[in-house]
């Protein structure tokens, strides 16, 4: 069943990819240039002086209308992107206007999110589909979630009272009385190490994909970042190592070239998953 479904989607995705490339040719966005800065390690600065020299590129966001469910009228139309690197880590700063800060997740409450994707192997003549790659042409997807930023800023495990301040605890949580190993089956996704359920290590999910529905956490996640909400806008920095550990992440060289695409979700408009806005590839060169 699944195979047939995937095949149908892939065919649609490839068709759209061709259309997307031809559209892009008409109004190609400016190229991003990652200036080299001094320093070592992850670049998680948001809005500091370090970014003042980086060229801002406005990236137009498009409705996702290929994969079901679609999002024909996305809330966010444009994201401003800047880039830097220090020879070890590449960073992108993404800014967009969003008057409804959404960082609490309940059944009908969605968090603001933004993601960048990079081809795992960049071939200028035949890049992957900008819509999450395709079979044989994988992409590294790095998604920052406002809810995970909130977890990190809180500095401790989330409790039910963080969502519902007046909620009482249950009489007994088995995990409070059991050993870590015995309690693991009672933790659901958290017990299985699902990256979306783990809190407090990074606000950025480090994943790979080779088409719609294939998004999978990398086995050795390294990406990190930081998001700050200020004056009606999100300012988010996502940073990745240029020589990553493990598979399914690109090796980036000083002076090299690649492409990057952006996807963004407005939690206040109940955007999540494929209900998103996406961009075509933007050229990215890494300065000497």
């Amino acid at each position: 069943m699944k195979r047939m479904f995937s095949t149908l989607f892939l065919a649609a995705a490839l068709g759209m990819c061709v259309a997307g490339v031809s559209q892009a040719a008409e109004s190609a966005p400016e190229s991003l240039q990652a200036l080299r800065v001094s320093g070592k390690g992850p670049i998680t600065d948001v809005g500091g002086a370090i970014w003042s020299q980086a060229k801002a590129v406005k990236v137009a966001m498009q409705p996702q209308v290929v994969a079901v469910p679609t999002n024909p009228t996305p809330a966010i139309k444009e994201v401003t992107v800047r880039s830097l690197h220090n020879g070890e880590w590449l960073a992108l700063q993404l800014e967009w206007q969003d008057y409804t800060k959404s960082d609490t997740v309940v059944v009908d409450g969605f968090a603001d999110q933004i993601a960048i994707e990079l081809p795992v192997v960049y071939d200028e003549k035949s890049p992957p589909s900008p819509m999450m790659g395709n079979v044989g042409s994988r992409v590294n997807v790095l998604q920052w979630r406002a809810s995970m930023q909130k977890d990190l800023d809180r500095g401790r495990e989330m409790k039910i009272q963080d969502i519902y301040p007046n909620a009482p605890d249950a009489d007994l949580y088995y995990t409070d009385r059991l050993s870590k190993e015995a309690g693991q089956p009672y933790l659901g996704a958290k017990g299985l190490g699902n990256a979306v359920a783990l809190q407090g290590s990074s606000p950025v999910l480090d994943m790979m994909a080779e088409g719609f529905g294939t998004l999978t956490a990398r086995s050795q996640p390294q990406a990190t970042g930081k998001g700050v909400y200020k004056d009606g806008s999100w300012h988010v920095t996502i940073t990745v190592p240029m020589a990553p550990a493990g598979e399914n992440a690109p090796k980036l060289a000083v002076g090299g070239k690649t492409v990057v695409a952006v996807a963004v979700w407005d939690g206040g408009s109940q955007e999540v998953g494929s209900r998103k806005a996406w961009s075509d590839w933007v050229n990215l060169s890494l300065g000497q």
Binding site: F5, S6, P69, T70, P72, T175, G191, G213, T214, G273
Partner: protein
């Protein structure tokens, strides 16, 4: 979109995946006439499966009072109003299923409940359809009515949750038809919560993934019935497997009650999911309400159930509810007893049609006291 055969609506319908049935299909029959809403099933399920942080208001099994009880609030009237008026009169459903009603850019017609809809899991408990006028309780049938509807995931043949998930994190097990959400792949998009008309996938705000009834699969794998079935003090449930259409076995109690005696009916078959929890409809409730909930031929089910005492086979199947913790594969009626066997043909239990009556003297000579219960 592929066409699949849905026997409950008597026709083929659109579904995003090909119609391959599992080797065995998990099924349950619930006798609404015997439910007293004691919530023992709910507590058994909760203490087994949903005791964690983020699951405080999550009930994979719940019992609600119909017509005004809901969990989550208004779940069925909300989707029924979106579904619109459909022709449910004939044996072949003339209306549209939820898959056939899907708006552009979606897989299924659905809606996302509000967070507050889960805040009162037992809202409107025991509310009947109206005030009872003076003397009304002496009339037959009663002017006012209500009944209890126990609910778990229906482990549908054509699950809308599975169809809605854009990343195929939901799967239907080929060995028993149980529908599960892969907790290692779920990204918490809540498309399943939106898509399931029965609102049985739940969002966990702490793990930020969706979770649902797992059909007590570790028990089922061992040939044991689910927790909600085994703990039911009223013995209102029977859990086992239903055969594919056309391959019914008369000695399988689930097949017999659903397809042959036709006393057990699916919940909202017009949605098109082919749900596999079947209900013996309440015999005191007006049929116009029940037709919308259980299908056009609900009156025949009510009549058959009323005559169960005169039908040894039907009586046998009904007596086996709650009689054994093991999954019943076959049953028979012999010498005034209902006999159940497992899939190896080993006898599980015998239930007499009539309980023997023992009459004791009203006065206990040994303890020199009067007995309050002499039979």
């Amino acid at each position: 979109m592929p066409k699949v055969m849905n026997w409950q609506i008597g026709r083929e319908m659109d579904y995003p995946y090909e119609g391959k049935r599992p080797d065995a299909q998990f099924a349950m029959i619930i006798d609404t006439n015997k439910c007293i809403s004691c919530q023992t099933c709910t507590v058994a399920c909760k203490s087994t499966w949903t005791s964690g942080r983020g699951q405080e208001y999550m009930f994979w099994n719940n019992v609600e009072t119909k017509p005004y009880g809901f969990y989550p609030l208004g779940w069925d009237v909300n989707i029924l109003s979106r579904h619109g008026v459909q022709d449910i009169s004939g044996p072949v459903y003339a209306g549209k299923t939820l898959f056939e009603s899907a708006p552009d850019g979606t897989m299924v017609l659905g809606y996302l409940p509000e967070d507050v809809d889960y805040a009162n899991p037992n809202i409107s408990e025991d509310d009947s359809v109206g005030q009872m006028d003076t003397g009304g309780f002496l009339q037959m049938p009663h002017m006012q009515w209500m009944y209890y509807l126990p609910r778990i995931c229906n482990h549908c043949t054509y699950p809308a949750c599975l169809a809605s998930c854009p990343r195929q994190s939901i799967y239907k097990r080929p060995e028993d038809g149980i529908v599960l959400i892969d907790q290692s792949r779920c990204q918490g998009y809540r498309e399943c919560v939106r898509g399931c008309p029965y609102k049985k996938p739940f969002f966990n705000s702490v793990t930020r993934t969706s979770e649902k009834c797992v059909g007590c699969y570790p028990a089922v794998e061992q040939g044991r019935q689910t927790q909600c079935t085994m703990t039911c003090i009223g013995k209102i449930r029977l859990q086992g497997f239903i055969s594919p259409p056309g391959k019914e076995r008369e000695d399988n109690p689930i097949d017999y009650l659903v397809r042959i005696a036709k006393v057990a009916k699916p919940l909202y078959p017009q949605f098109g999911l082919e749900p596999n929890v079947y209900y013996i409809p309440p015999i005191h409730v007006p049929s116009p309400f029940l037709k919308q909930m259980f299908g056009a031929d609900v009156e025949a089910a009510q009549q058959a159930y009323r005559k169960a005492a005169d039908d040894n086979k039907l009586l046998s199947a009904l007596l086996l509810f709650g009689s054994t913790p093991s999954i019943i594969s076959g049953f028979s009626a012999q010498n005034g007893q209902a006999i159940a066997v497992n899939k190896k043909g080993e006898e599980l239990v015998r239930v007499p049609f009539k309980e023997p009556i023992f009459v004791r003297p009203g006065f206990d000579e040994q303890f020199q006291t009067h007995r309050s219960n002499a039979t």
